[in-house]
Subunit: 682 residues, 2 copies
Amino acid sequence: MAMTTATRTKNSTAVTRVDTEWLGRYLLGTWADVRLKARDLAALPELQRVEGQSVAEHRATVFGQLKILVEHRGVLRAFPKSLGGDDDHGGNIAGFEELVTADPSLQIKSGVQWGLFGAAVLHLGTERHHETLLPDIMSLAVPGAFAMTETGHGSDVASIGTTATYDEETAEFVIDTPFRGAWKDYLGNGAQHGTAAVLFAQLITRGTNHGVHAFYVPLRDESGTFLPGVGGDDDGLKGGLNGIDNGRLHFTAVRIPRTNLLNRYGDVAPDGGYTSSIASPGRRFFTMLGTLVQGRVSLDGASVAAAKIALAIAVRYGNERRQFNAASDIDEEVLLDYRLHQHRLMPLLATTYAASFAHEQLLTKFDGVFSGAHDTDADRQDLETLAAALKPLSTWHALDTLQEAREACGGAGFLAENRLTGLRADLDVYATFEGDNHVLLQLVAKRLLTDYARRFKAADVGSLARYAVGQAAGMTVNGTGLRSLAQNVSDLGSTARQVGHLRDEATQRELLAGRVEAMVADVAGRLRPAAKAAKAEGARLFNENQVAVIEAARAHAELLQWEAFTEALTGIADDDTRKVLTWLRDLFGLGLIHKHLAWYLINGRLSPKRASSVEPYIDRLVARLRSHAQDLVDSFGYRPEHIRAAIATGAEAARQSEARDYYAAQAASGTAPAAEKSPPRA
Amino acid sequence: MAMTTATRTKNSTAVTRVDTEWLGRYLLGTWADVRLKARDLAALPELQRVEGQSVAEHRATVFGQLKILVEHRGVLRAFPKSLGGDDDHGGNIAGFEELVTADPSLQIKSGVQWGLFGAAVLHLGTERHHETLLPDIMSLAVPGAFAMTETGHGSDVASIGTTATYDEETAEFVIDTPFRGAWKDYLGNGAQHGTAAVLFAQLITRGTNHGVHAFYVPLRDESGTFLPGVGGDDDGLKGGLNGIDNGRLHFTAVRIPRTNLLNRYGDVAPDGGYTSSIASPGRRFFTMLGTLVQGRVSLDGASVAAAKIALAIAVRYGNERRQFNAASDIDEEVLLDYRLHQHRLMPLLATTYAASFAHEQLLTKFDGVFSGAHDTDADRQDLETLAAALKPLSTWHALDTLQEAREACGGAGFLAENRLTGLRADLDVYATFEGDNHVLLQLVAKRLLTDYARRFKAADVGSLARYAVGQAAGMTVNGTGLRSLAQNVSDLGSTARQVGHLRDEATQRELLAGRVEAMVADVAGRLRPAAKAAKAEGARLFNENQVAVIEAARAHAELLQWEAFTEALTGIADDDTRKVLTWLRDLFGLGLIHKHLAWYLINGRLSPKRASSVEPYIDRLVARLRSHAQDLVDSFGYRPEHIRAAIATGAEAARQSEARDYYAAQAASGTAPAAEKSPPRA
């Protein structure tokens, strides 16, 4: 058991200690063994980022690394056992996420190959595709692109312009790019390595457009030359992830066999007749896209991992670096002794723990659905909502954490050798790909509003009106959707005032869940006229309330993180560890309440007196957690081979001792120059 | 007069228009002609960043560009007329700032050469140094480093370890680096190009350390080889600014002539006697460092310029890019029609205007001091405070704006060809160099607390106690220090409630200034025991209040920006332009009030009812300003050669038209495929 640092609490002479070894294992979660194996892989120098490579070198390196991953069977867990995989969906993502510590380009490039290109064949194709296509995809014999996004359409996939028109005479689909905006764009493996693609296009047969479907389309021959009718462009240098060859593609009358349609959810007979197991084109579209949720799941996990690395660097450095000697003449303070420095890093640490526990829930949900163990419509909806809620928060959180860590390490943080700027540059795009964060939050809001409407299907107008002014019945909605509180919302204001203890779990829950509920009710009330309005008028109304809609979704996502953290506390047996983690959860919860304090005050949920106690209480928590900071980042379990920052190796502590020893020796020998005396004050 | 877009206000059928040409000129400020000339320079392709260069290529390119700047006399305005300069300090900085649009590496590398290395010789040296050293510095015959920061000490310059010990026998200073932490670090021109340095070291003579002084020290011979006793290291790849060769230097018994001491504020006679015109070592140190304030001034201005470029890109793209068709079946919305998109960009636009006007005040103050026109102690203090207040806000604002613009442009924003990621990577370090932002804010807080204490020098204990509970006399402090309100703070709560109009300038001022005053009073009250406490206890007390101290300083800096924006409004003659800019100022002011709304509520400065009107009013302002967004970024006056983003060239609009034309032609010809019909609802 590692016991390195400690706090003494006021009422006890006993020392509180985090059991870092146990906590480390706990954080690894359900797929601990897979994660440890993946971390061993990520610790291999040949899989790690070489800073300063040119784009061409970096691309070549990462492509070579994919082959190493294949050799280590590090990336094929999700594929069928019959083809050499493990049918292990959760484990697959868990392992994949850990690759971010080696190089985010490696993570995303392998994600393109096996998580998007391969997974699309797996989930949207049928047996004939699995047998003929998957082996070469798995082995990387066929590197491929996932050709969905177009220059003109990213998040709005339903409106893409590429067409696949069925030609009955030849039993082929003809792929066309009708205008520049319909070029496929930002495709990993698109600029260089991809010899095939899963291409999304409007399926047209017998004069009818059946909406977006996926097709398997060869792109290049073995020499890398485009096949006839295919053309493209290199996206060139990017803000990060330059180990990936993102590019653009366009198609002119490119013919593929009818059977290249990935036909799990929709098929075209030789005579051009269209059939689908899902009657509604809208539902079919969302079902097909739903199979791709794993991209969001894995970005959520990779972002948490990157935030952990950032804090491992900044906390270690903050515990070694000294600057200014305010309190004594001998030693300067280490940075983390400064209250401001604590306030910069500790809340980020709390959020990282929240995001980590929330991700474990998401991954479990994902595995349940994809393994078939829990695969109802409700499960799938919950998974969609959870992924759409958590991915925005964790990707933004990773960027915020990397940036704060960078600044907290000063000029050293800006050097590539300390990794913070490189990771931040790479993770930047996580906020907008695999679903733009704001668009995802709108999805969450849609779910919340649907839940809300459902709750009142049978309710009379009177109760709805009461709701609109801030009262609610005690009906509970499970899953990841809208929460309902045990008691009436109308009681809440006084409840919160009476409870008196902001550190009380129930109080935090009431405040956070009550806010979501009230915001959704408020927005729903304002949107009610939209239901009966003309389309343009409804859109106008929705647009006017868009900011409130997003804010409600964000509040809900924060609640989900808080709930995950809180639930995780129940699994901690060791009293000390649970105590420290409870402080950390409180810091997270009170941080959220503090962020939205004006809302609580305006809506009478907190009195000014109670509200004014939030900041001092946060301050106390931060100070109390300071001595556990190193344990809390050590528990992440990343080794020096994963962290790889020159300033987080003990080098700074060594420099500090050397300097201290120099001055001590000088003082002892009597050779130290005297300080110039200040003149007497006038 | 350019009149491109317009709003109709509720009570008028007249159209409100921004006079972009006039506003553009107004924004250029006092040194408009210099800025325009510098923009012409920055528009030259040979001075612009070539994306994708290796570090070695980029360094060589930028070094070559410095020579072009010399040829164009673009960077020598601050030097004496006798040596071929203009003695124009404000103009020099104005021109220098504009270079950021060509390449931030070029801006900072020229800043190192002429703004730090050259300026240190100018301001810390005396005539003999000017005559012998400046000509070669100005011409770039001697590229030099500014060797102040050490690996072990950044912001705490007084504690650097490098020593310069005077040897009476040879009349030389002996430069030594006593330990690894005392290596000079992060020095531009340090890794490669610098053949000399202005080096900061502890001056020791006759056994006494007289504190940090600056010395002129040759580093390399003409072949680039280190001179005897000098060694160093390359800082390698950085998060940005890779056109600059940052490096580390160390010195072992390096001897320089006595006359290489830059002796304006302190000198050593041949016999080793030390003399200084400033008796107090502390004051002497701050006077020497004070001459270097121009670095902060110029970073403030360059950050404003970068934010302008970011918004010029994102607003243009937001006005052309279409996505989702919520409101009609024909056309998708342009992004900027979405309320959320407006809320993401318009407040940043308002802050950019505030920062721009505030920078103009800072530059004017700087010019007054450095030209000698207004160069009292109070002026210098005001300049220090203003620079320390504005530089943190503007550098962080630039990063926030570049990031939001990047995300608002989606995947396209991540491509290097659209410049947002590159600019952000380069500007990242602006937040921590030339004074770490948090350290600067502490400087501001120190000034505020000093002003506060001075105010009560003659006051009795009773009045001080009253102050501590939130009441204040009506004494006004001028300059950039602590504000006092015209009436008693105790009236404020009710005043704000009564005034009723948050858009009222006086109300905004009262709320913003009142908050600063109350926060400073609060912190001062909490720090009072520190004055009589032992050093360690005083430090502990200060540390416990550090977050509040920084927050007060930040509030003060925000107030300074708001005041600058408000003062700028008085210079706008055109009614329409003033009206739109007033909305923008209101958006800025209410944005600040919204950010701190909980404080206003807790402290009774705003009633819950009044507070709840802030968000809706911001919403109205954002909507009202939307149609002026393009004019407001066009007024920045940056040309395509400065903006250089592929998505801000009209290319997106052309793609959108092409797509629309395609669908229109298809519809007209009757060849459009029919949409699959949804099945009847069950």
